[in-house]
């Protein structure tokens, strides 16, 4: 059994640029971002799709990068926190919605996805959109305000 890895080349768009990356096809997008491409903004909180810290946009939709294999990324568009509209993390910082910061990239990405689909969300909309993102530090109140600030509501 294998310590030898199958490695393939995957082409996809990353934060607006075409990239080619060599990785095992069953390597996660999360590990590829962090260990191969060295974009460490995306975080690993649980590796099982329960915490949202690893959220990226795949073809514009928020998904868990820990549950996305490189074979599923081929030919698609990925946006990470390094490539998101800076107005969102700025709003988070300004509203005091960042404490330890570990969950923040995932929340920022979930926010980006929400605002794309719903530019003027209500509190209820925001809670629903962010229900898959766990934060242990802030208690979420300032996060909801930050989303509204980024949305200009």
């Amino acid at each position: 059994m294998a310590t030898s890895r199958v490695v393939r080349e995957f082409s996809f768009k990353l934060n607006g640029r075409e990239v080619k990356v060599r990785a095992p096809p069953a390597y996660t997008l999360l590990d590829t971002l962090r260990y191969i491409i060295r974009l460490t903004g995306t975080k690993d909180g649980c590796s099982s799709g329960d915490c949202g810290a690893c959220t990226v946009l795949l073809d514009g939709k928020a998904v868990h990068s820990c549950l996305t294999l490189m074979a599923q990324v081929q030919g698609r568009e990925v946006v990470t926190v390094e490539g998101v509209d800076p107005i969102i993390p700025q709003a988070y910082a300004q509203e005091g919605a960042v404490q330890c910061g570990y969950c923040t990239p995932g929340l920022v990405m979930a926010t980006a996805a929400l605002l794309k689909a719903n530019p003027k969300p209500s509190d209820e909309d925001i809670r629903e959109a962010l229900r898959g993102n766990l934060c242990r530090c802030t208690g979420y109140v300032k996060i909801i305000r930050a989303v509204k600030m980024a949305a200009g509501v």
Binding site: M1, A2, T3, S4, R5, V6, P24, P25, A26, Y27, T28, D31, S47, S48, G49, D50, G52, T55, L58, K61, A62, V63, H64, L67, T68, L69, A71, Q72, Q74, G75, A110, A113, L114, E128, A129, R131, G132, N133
Partner: protein
Amino acid sequence: MISLADLDVVTPSSLGEALEILAERAGKVRVLAGGTDLIVQMRHRMTPKTDLLNIYALDELRYVKLEDGYVKIGALTDFSTIYSSPLVRRAAPVLAEAAFAVGSVQIMNKATLGGNIVNASPAADSLPPLYVLDANLTLKSRSSVRTVPIDEFYKGYKKLDIRPDELLVEVSFKPLPDNYSGRFFKHGLRQGDAISVVNGAVLIGWDNETDTIADARVALGAVAPTVVRATECEKMLVGAKLDDETMWRAAEAVKESISPIDDVRGSAAYRREMCINYVYMTLWILSRKVKA
């Protein structure tokens, strides 16, 4: 936790190619759709680690359409699409409700209807609606096509009527007529994303002339090794008026159809009562809808 990085992943570029590969490597390869269940299970050794057949790129299996009088949903359609589909909302709102309950936005965007069905958790949120919709599953192999009604698909806990060389490609059901009203319910331990303690779907077909129930379909999940139709409950509803007494008696009757277990989320007795209570509450809500 183990690593999956040494797995080989084959990515066919068409359904035909996928079926060829399945035929050749049946039993030695697992189908990867969204991966939101499979990857977690393999990582935590809940299912054996095998090479993967990645069908995630097969857009030909992503559709929601009305054709030949049936709503047809491609197996790779994700739950966000199902939730926001105007066709599903019109023709089978109970399925749209369940799609939202499947999980967080991130899960809804990646998890697929086909994956949810084949993963076969008795607590899968998409299943009770498919049961009350009398949905049919289309299974294709290199050399065959067949259709299986959903309530014949599950032979036992995680035992499916699907051959190793077959792929679930489509789910279809008749759109609900105007005199039908349905609702999905889910009892979880928190408001956010949570595994169901009990879930279910209730569908009532109303006879407008006699003001009675013409058709009743009740499907319950997380209370037996597979999703079950609460047939005794349904019998009590058909032909009756949707009054309080009927609703209670029918709700109580779900006991006959379920065999819940004790686990961290609750005891069997609790699940039983929640089933009854939720069916009652759902019937009550539907009775208000019908009256309006």
